[in-house]
Amino acid sequence: MAALTLISEPQTPGSVSRWIGVGRASADDRDGPDQGVSGLGASALREALGGRTAGLIVVFASSELDLGALMADLSTEVDANVPVVGCTTAGEISTEGPSDRGVVVAAFGGEDFSIAAALAENVGAGLREAGAEVAKAVSLLDDRPHRILLLLTDGLAGDQQEIVRGAYSVVGAGVPLVGGCAGDDQHMATTSVFFNGQVLTNAIVGVAIGSTSPFGIGVRHGWRRVGEPILVTASIGTKVLTLDDEPALDVYLRRNGASPDIDPAAFARFAMTHPLGISKRSGEEVRFIAGADFVERSLQCIAQVPQGGLAWIMEGDDESVLAATDGACVDALEQLGGREPKGVLAFDCIARRGVLGDAGIEREVDRIGAAIKGVPVAGFYSYGEIARTKGTGGFHNQTLVVLAVS
C-alpha cells in the first residue's frame, strides 16, 4: 500500500467564508460528431467554480469517458495544491438531474473549510490498513469544530466494511465517515478513483473536511421485509453458503418466486432489485447480492452476512424507494441545527436506480432538489455507500446516503 496526502492551501482573500458549487457536462448533451468528450471536464469545472477559487474539487465521472484526458483537462484549470479527487460512476447526479456518460464536479471553497486529502494504493492486500492510512488526513486539519471524512473507494477492491473499520479505528466516533464506492456503468469490470490527475484502481481516497458549520448525514434504503425470517446457517465473510441448511441460492430463488434455472445474466439483473436484509438492533441492513455460484449454489454479497444471524427477503418499489430519498434528506438537514445547507453530496445505490428506472431517478433527483431547497447537489449511482454516524458499521448496500454541508 502506498499513500499520499495533500493539504489544501488557505483560500483566496475576499472569497465568501464557505461555498459549494456544482457543474455538470455530459457527452449526451453534445450534438455533432466532433464534440466528443473533449472539454467536458473543464466545462463542468468552470460551471462549479463560477470564477471562484476552490480548496477542493470532487469529480464524479462516467467510466465510459476518456478518464486520462478528463484528468488532464481538469489539472490545467486548477492549482496543483488543490486536491482534485473523485471516482467513476454508474450514473451521475447533479442539480440538473441524473445523467449518464457525463461528469459532475463539486467545488468546495472558502476559509471556513479546512481540507486534507489522502490516497492509498494497492489496497487489496490490506483494506483495513488502507482505511486507517487515509483517515490520518483528519489529523492534518486546522482546528474546526465540525469534521467529516469523505471516502471514495474502488468498489471492486474487496470487503468495503474493512476500509470503514480501518478509518474508524483512527478517527473514532467523533468524526463521521461518509462516501461511496466507485461504479462503472454496471459493467462490473473496472472501477477507479481519481487523485490529482491520476486514475487509479485498487485504491481509495480519503478527504478530511473541517468546517466551522455542521454537517448532516442521512441514511435510508427503502426496502421492507417479505415473509418469514431465514437463518443464515453457513457463511464465510461476504459469501452465503446455506440458508435454513439449504443451498443459499435455491432458498433465495424459491422465496423470491424466481425460476431455479435462471441464467447468470438474468440473475444479476434480478438480484439487483432483490436484496437480502439482515437483522440489526434498530431494524435491518440491506445486503446487495452481487452474484451467485451456480455450481456451489451460494450467494455472493458485497458486505458480510454473519453466520448464525437472521435474514429476510427484501422488496422495494418506487414509492418505498422515493420515501427513503425524502427521509434521508430530512435526516441530513435536521442535523444542521437549523442552518441552511450550502450544498449536498448524494451517494445513491445502483440498485435503487434499478427499481426506479430512468424516469424514476428523474423524480428522485427532483425530490432531493426539493428537499434541500435548490442548493447545489452532486452525487453518483454507486456500488456501495458509506455512512458511519452511529454504531460501528458504516458500509451500506442499496441505500441512499446524503451529506448536507451547511
Binding site: 473514532g172 466516533a173 437483522s279 452511529k390
Partner: protein
Amino acid sequence: MTTSTPGASGWALEQLTAYLFGLASAGDPDAVVLEAIDRAAEAMEAEVAALICDGSVVSSIGFANGEAPVDVLLETVAGRHTHADLPGVGPCHVSGASFESQGDYCLVVARTGDVAFSAEERNLLRGMSRALALNLQSARVLTAMNERQALMERLTRILRSINSRAPLPEVLETIVAGAVELIGDAYAGLRRIDPLDPEWAVVLCGIEATPGSMLPGQRSKVGQGAGGRAISEQRLVVIHDYAQATDALPVWVEASTQAAMAAPVHENGIVVGSLVVGSVVPGRRYSEAEQSILMSFADHVSLALTDAMTTESLHRALEAARHDAMHDELTGLPNRALLRDRLEQAWVRGCRTGSPIALLFLDFDDFKDINDSLGHDAGDRLLVSLADRLAGSLRPGDTIARLGGDEFAVLIENLADAATAEGLAARLLEVLLEPVVVNGRDVTMRGSIGIAVSEFTEPDSQSLLYSADLAMYEAKRRGGGRYVRYRPDMHLDTLVRLDTEQALKLALSAGELVLHYQPIEELPSGRIIGAEALVRWQHPVRGLIGPMEFVPIAEASGLIIRLGEWVLRTACTEATRWPDDIEIAVNLSPRQLEPELPQMVREILAETGLHSDRLVLEVTEATAMADAPETQRIIEELHAMGVHFSIDDFGTGHSSIARLRTLPVDQLKIDKSFVSTLDDDSGADVFISAIVALAHGSGLVAVAEGVETPGQRCRLVSLGCDRAQGYLFSRPVEPHVISAMLHDRVLVQHS
C-alpha cells in the same frame, strides 16, 4: 432507516449466536478480542467498545487512534453508572460486563443518542463477555499448542543441524534466528565469556534491528544488562521497562530497548555465556511461555556448544588413537606398524634413487632374566631408558621402532655403504653396555643385532625385516653381544624349519603322529611294570620321523601345547587297555607346565577313566630344578591328584638336593649317557650309585634309561637301581605290540 427497540429475546439470542460464530472463526487470542469488541459494538449499535484487562486497554474500537479513556470507562463500570462523557465521542450510555480469564477483564460498550441499554442488551453483553472468556481461553490453548508446535519444529531443525555436525557458527546462528522468530523480538544475540578476560562477554552472533546493538564482537561487562546478569546470576533474567533498569546497557537504551531477557548457556554444565533477546515495542512484557521458549533455545545452544566440544575432544582422541596405533605405549617409539610403513616408503624412495637402505634388528640378550629377577616394572624402566639411549645415538632421519618385548629395529636410509650400517650397529651395542641403574642396582645389558642391507633385489620391503631378524638369531646363536650381517643361506635354514612347522601342524590334524611305547621293567625281577610313550611322525613320504626332528620345532612354534595334549590323551587312552597295575609315562615339555595343565590332566583322566596313580609325567631336570614357584605349584597340584612325577635325564644338569626334597616327585631317570658307559668301567657306576643313593635317600625310585646290554643291566641290579628300560628289553613298539606284551607279560624279542 427505521429505529425500533429490540423486540423479543429472540433478537438477543440471534446476536449471541452470530457473535459466537464470529469468535469461533477467529484464530489467535488477539483476533478473538478484536472480533468480540467489533461484534459487541455492532450488535448494540454502539460507537465504541473496549476490552480492559487489569486496568489497561487490551483493544478498543471507536476511539480516535485507539486511545480509549480507560480511567473514565473503569470508573463508570465500577460505579455502576450508565452514562459518561467520553472524550472524542461525547455523552454516552455505557454498559460493561466483567469476567475472569487470567486477569480481571471488563468488556465495555458505549453509544451516543437517546436510547439507553435495555436489560436485554445488558444481559446480552454479559453473555458475550462469558463467551469471550471461554473463547479467549481456548484460543490461548490453541495458540500455545501452535507455538509449541512451531517451537518443536524449530528445535527439531536445530537438533538436526547439531546432529549433522553443521559448523558450530551455523548452528548457533540457526538457534539465534529461531529465538527471534518464535519470540518475535527485534534483536537477539549470543554472548560468550571472553576466555582471556572473564569479566567481559563478547557477542558471538546476533540478529539486530537496530544497528550497533548486537554486533558480533561487541563487548559488555558480565553482570550488567540482562545478558550479563544471566551469566553472573546463572539464571533467566527478565527486564521490563529496560531504560529504568539500574544496570541497563547504554547502547541498548540508545537503541530504544523496552524490554530484554536472557538465559544462561552452558558448556559441559558450566555457564559460558547467555542468549539474549530485546524488544523495542513499548510496554513489551515477556510471558511465561516466552520465557520457557528462551530457556529452551539456550539449552540448545548449550547442547551445541557441549556437542562441539565433545566432537573436538573426540577428534583429539582419534588423533591420539591414531598416534597410539602407530607408537609403542611404553617407550613412545614408532611401533611395528609404523616401521613397516616407513620401511615401505623408504623402499619406494630407495628403488627410485638407488641409495641403499639398511635395517638393524636388535634384541637384548637375556632380558628375560631382568624381568624374572627384578620384576616387570624394573624391566620396563630399563627398556625405556635403553630405548632413549638408542634413539639418541641415531642420525636425524633414521627411525628406531620397538617391535615388542625387547626387540627393536632401526631403519637407515641413504646408506653410503654396508660398513656404515655395521658401524652404527657397533655403536648401538656399545651404548647398551653402559650401566643403567635399576632398583638401585647397576644393570649392564648386552644385545644382538642382525643387519640387512637392501640393494632392492628382495621381493618386497618387508622381507628386509625378516632377513634382519634371521641375522639377529644368528648373532644370538653365536652367543650374543654382537652383530651379524644377513646371508642368504640363513634364509634357507629357516625355510626348512618353517616347512616342517607347517607340515607338523597338518600332520597333527591328519593323524600322521603316532605313539610308540617302550616297556619299563622292574629290577631285578624283569617284570614289566610300565611303559613310556614316545611320539613318532609317520610321514607319508619320509617315513617314520623321530621326535628330535620335530619336537624342538613344535616347542619353538608353540604347537607343542596341542601336540602335548594329544600325546597325553592318546597315551592315557591306550593305557586303559592294559592291565591296571601298569604305569604309563608321558614326557612333558617345559612349555606345558602352565597353570591350565592340572585341569587338562584331570579332564583327560576323567575322559579316559585312567586311574591317576598309573600316570607318570616326566619333566626334564632343568625344568624341575628351575626356581619357579609356578612350576612347583603345578607339580604339587598334580601330585595331590595322585599323578606321579619323574625327573628325566637326571644327572645332565644341576640339581639342588634341597629342591629335590621339596618337589613332590617319585622317580629319577638316570640319563642313558651314564648307563652307556657302565660297560667300559669308566667310573660311571660311581655316579649311578650316587644317584641311586640320592633317590633312595629322598624316597624316590631310580630308573635307568638306554639299557642296551646284559652287562649294563647286571651292573644296574648290583647298584640297586629299581627299574630299567632300553633296547635290551624292547625298542619302542606300536600300541598293539605293547598291548600284547603286557597281557602276556613277556618281552617280545626284536632282531
